[in-house]
Symmetry: C2
Subunit: 190 residues, 2 copies
DNA sequence: ATTATCTATAGATCTATAGATAATGC
DNA sequence: ATTATCTATAGATCTATAGATAATGC
């Protein structure tokens, strides 16, 4: 007991990081503050010196969770085909704790407060803009709806592949959708 | 108090129907048995003469919730274009209580028990088969992955349109994805 | 007599707070 | 003196059960 301000900042960060993982894994209501604090290596009592309420943690944790997608966005910016393959990879399907917020928390966010929904919307806009700029840049004039189809497919396919209990079907969805999306939206020479 | 067996059957059915609605609206953990029973017009105490556990209700309610999609499947069987339009309509976006289970409970089901996940998988297979049979039946040889893209897009687009706090963006997603999917997967003369 | 439902409650769990403890930092 | 965290707990809520009540159905 008795810790420095620097340590407090570290604790705060660890709480948010653990929450960002576990929320995606178990859903926003799927883990208690006590369990999050236990994983951090602390106790419930300290939590409320870091956050006014559970909702405040949710907002911060979702923001941090979205940042995990920045690596993916950079990869996609360089090469759309590899962005699609990464998004629909077995690794992304299995690694819930670091996965895309849209795929792991879509329904939770739909039921969430307006602050969280607005953050979601802002991120969605950014992702759509990126995809729009990557779709056959020189060929198609009306790329926005195509970017929407592409993004919807990525998210929907990943969710279906996760929810099904049939491992083989899951793999077929991931590989089938990957191939189709690459064919539809990636210039042939890329 | 003191009711007939026929009344019990009705009560059972009402419990399942209320649960099928509220689970889709608020998530599977989003409503308590007490609140479900209150909406049914009964009390908690009676619940366990109908179900061994909460999980049993979840399994039955999800099964019933899936049946709401049978109307949509019949419509789609007749005309793919009108199936797409109905799925991505504002009405389907707004009416959570009767909406497609894949769109309203995908992450909940992913975290659910194997019985529920297997029911989900069975339904998914059926829906994919239907869509496969409807995609340009005479034109394309490899329709299965295309059906997967179509279904993923439908589910993903509906979820994004629900989760965003920007009403205008939501409408753009629904109409944009509808137009693209119709163009991609519906024979021109339909 | 049996049973469908009710009232009441046990036991678990969760959010949030109160007060104690042991360091930090002026 | 201030503060970051701890222990302990209040108050709310949720699942599940026990026992009472008032009908049904042999």
């Amino acid at each position: 007991m008795g810790h420095s301000q620097a340590e407090k900042r570290q604790t705060h960060e660890r709480i948010v990081n653990v929450a960002a993982k576990r929320f995606r894994e178990r859903g926003i209501e799927g883990i208690s503050i006590a369990d999050i604090m236990k994983e951090v290596g602390a106790t419930v009592g300290g939590f409320y010196r870091h956050f006014d309420s559970r909702d405040d943690l949710v907002a911060e944790a979702v923001a941090v969770a979205f940042e995990d997608m920045d690596t993916w966005k950079n990869k996609t910016r360089k090469n759309l085909r590899s962005g699609i393959k990464t998004y629909l990879s077995a690794a992304h399907r299995n690694e819930l704790t670091t996965s895309c917020v849209f795929s792991s928390l879509s329904t939770d966010i739909h039921r969430s407060n307006s602050q969280t929904r607005e953050l979601f919307t802002e991120r969605l806009r950014g992702d759509l803009e990126l995809l729009e700029s990557m779709i056959r840049p020189e060929l198609d004039s009306n790329r926005r709806p195509k970017a929407m189809v592409l993004y919807s497919s990525l998210i929907g396919a990943l969710e279906l592949a996760r929810a099904t209990s049939d491992e083989k079907l899951a793999r077929q969805i991931l590989s089938g959708v990957t191939d189709e999306l690459v064919e539809l939206f990636c210039p042939a020479d890329e």
